[in-house]
Amino acid sequence: MVERLAEFVEDGSLDAEFIHVESEHSALSAAMGASLAGVRTFTATSSQGLLYMAEVLTYAAGGRFPIVMINANRSLALPWNIYGDQRDSLSLLDSGWIQAYAENAQEVLDLTLMAFRIAEDTAVRVPFMVNLDGFHLTHTYEVVDVPTKEQIDKILPDYDPGENQIDFENPRSFGFTAGPEWNASFHKAHHEAMLHAWNVIDRAENTFHAVFGRRYSGGVDAYRCDDAEYVLVTLGSVSGLCRQVADSLRESGVKAGVLRLRYLRPFPDEAIRKVLSSAKSVAVLEKDISFGGAGTVFTNVRSIVPAKLNVIGGLGGADISAAQIAGIFESLQAGESGVKWL
């Protein structure tokens, strides 16, 4: 990703400064400095690199810098593994960033474009992490509709840094200590900005639809959930296969549905409640485990609806098969509950 950006910058097709850093901690720190200076900033990372910059994530979020970052979801050491799972970003859900999860390469591109617009909205001003499944989306080929500059201009206005930038006429301190009497007020404002992001996401998706004809659906992407009795909640690239399985189950009379979570922060609680309120039973399939607890996505979903079954799969790039997904629906029908490993 950054290699391609380096080409764009060097051949002059992108008017940007490319900063070579010695670490991910420095990458995000430099992005934060540049954002403070008043320019649009982007960086990308993955896995241990994301954890290495974890400290800076909270600085960037609390400092309200609208940085956009793509994270290739990959497994965490130990044991070492270079393939995909979602433990990296899910372990950092609380860092104050917007977190979206793409299903395919087109959505990665589309989300990234919208991410700038959403993060930079004056009422949001929160950094945005676009997550894509390592290997399945990063190391495979897909045909992608690449937008023209004119199209992008229609959905992404020129950068407006707002007040949060260095100003020599009106110098300020950016970032500071806030003791107990002030601390919560900053976090509350940040939290409210995240909640407000739903309106901005909605507007961005409407504009996006008008320009590109592709319609995205906010926090969740519900498939055959309206009358579904058994719903599988999941995220990322495995969702397509889950939908296929739901289709074939429907043919044999099982009322199956799939709910793909597109955003985890802000958390689409209302959308989840609405879609899942009539489901008989709900399972969550995720490439993550919070050791000694359950999957993080499951824990979040269960705070909204009484999801019973949590299936942990795809860790370290393990394949998830159609038969295994069908098995999850069977487990739901059999009334199984708890944490189950594929």
Binding site: V21, S29, G33, G38, V39, P171, G175, G179
Partner: protein
């Protein structure tokens, strides 16, 4: 034209902060900003100077200033410099004020990265020779024999890292050591650094009465004596050349310098082991 203490900017850029009485670090920051003026953008990692200067709503910097992660002084400076340049602004100086821990220990990698890129920044390390903000723990710049809360009885068994040699080896464009006891020299070096395009590093000795164990009105005197007895040197590195700016005037008084400070009072039973000639 060379600036002297007399024609420093009358305006204050760092005041109303919560530093202890007699704090050497706050003097280093205050003077540097008077030299650099209102176009300076200050970058401060975790450490005493950020802790005392950024207490919302009591904010002590009157220029643009930003608090950074402990390890990230240099990389944040890089980003600011690149961002301002991208906006077409060119008359500014990004200046970092990082402690010894923030420089020689956790921030060394980012500093090396910035030097490697040749970023146009001025990095100032105010060296109080320990992690003061968190309670006087030993850093890589704590001198041999100095007691800290993590070298509680015998004092540090290691000598200070030579930061100037380190940044020189990394290929820095300009490096200098200074002391708040020799203000004219410090001022001259800041002014000189500000006139150089490239990565500049100034390492200023900034005694801390709390951590070193001396009276609050002795700070400048101790900082001066450190140079006079040869416990600290005023050096410059430029175009591959080293220059010693001042010969120690009374090297025989090193022991006196140490005796004035509580941190070098090593308990009797450890003195011999420490090869310490004190009482």
């Amino acid at each position: 034209m060379a600036m002297s203490a007399r024609d420093l900017d009358k305006r204050e850029f760092f005041f109303g902060h919560k530093a202890c009485a007699g704090c050497g670090g706050s003097l280093a920051v205050r003077i540097a900003l008077k030299v650099l003026g209102e176009r300076a953008v200050s970058v401060l990692p975790a450490g005493c100077m950020s802790a005392v200067g950024f207490n919302f709503p009591q904010l002590a910097f009157t220029n643009n200033a930003f608090i950074t992660p402990f390890a990230a002084t240099a990389s944040v400076m890089t980003g600011i410099e690149a961002g301002l340049r991208q906006r077409g602004i060119d008359d500014f100086q990004v200046v970092g004020f990082a402690g010894d821990g923030g420089t020689a220990d956790i921030g060394l990698q980012a500093l090396s990265g910035a030097i490697d890129r040749g970023d146009n920044i001025l990095y100032i390390c105010y060296d109080n020779e320990a992690y003061m903000n968190t309670g006087i723990q030993k850093s890589g710049l704590t001198p041999y024999g100095a007691k800290t809360t993590t070298t509680p009885y015998k004092g540090s068994r290691r000598h200070k890292k030579d930061m100037l040699a380190i940044v020189a080896a990394n290929g820095v464009d300009y490096a200098a050591s200074a002391s708040i006891g020799y203000l004219e020299d410090y001022i001259r070096k800041i002014e000189k650094a500000a006139g150089i395009t490239g990565t500049k590093y100034i390492h200023v000795l900034a005694p801390c009465p709390v951590g070193w164990g001396f009276k609050t009105d002795e700070t400048v005197d101790i900082a001066r004596e450190a140079v006079d007895v040869g416990a600290w040197s005023l050096r410059e590195y430029e175009n591959g050349e080293w220059k010693l700016n001042r010969e120690p005037s009374r090297p025989q008084d090193l022991e006196l310098y140490m005796k004035r400070q509580g941190r070098f009072k090593i308990e009797k039973q450890y003195q011999e082991e420490n090869n310490y000639a004190g009482e």
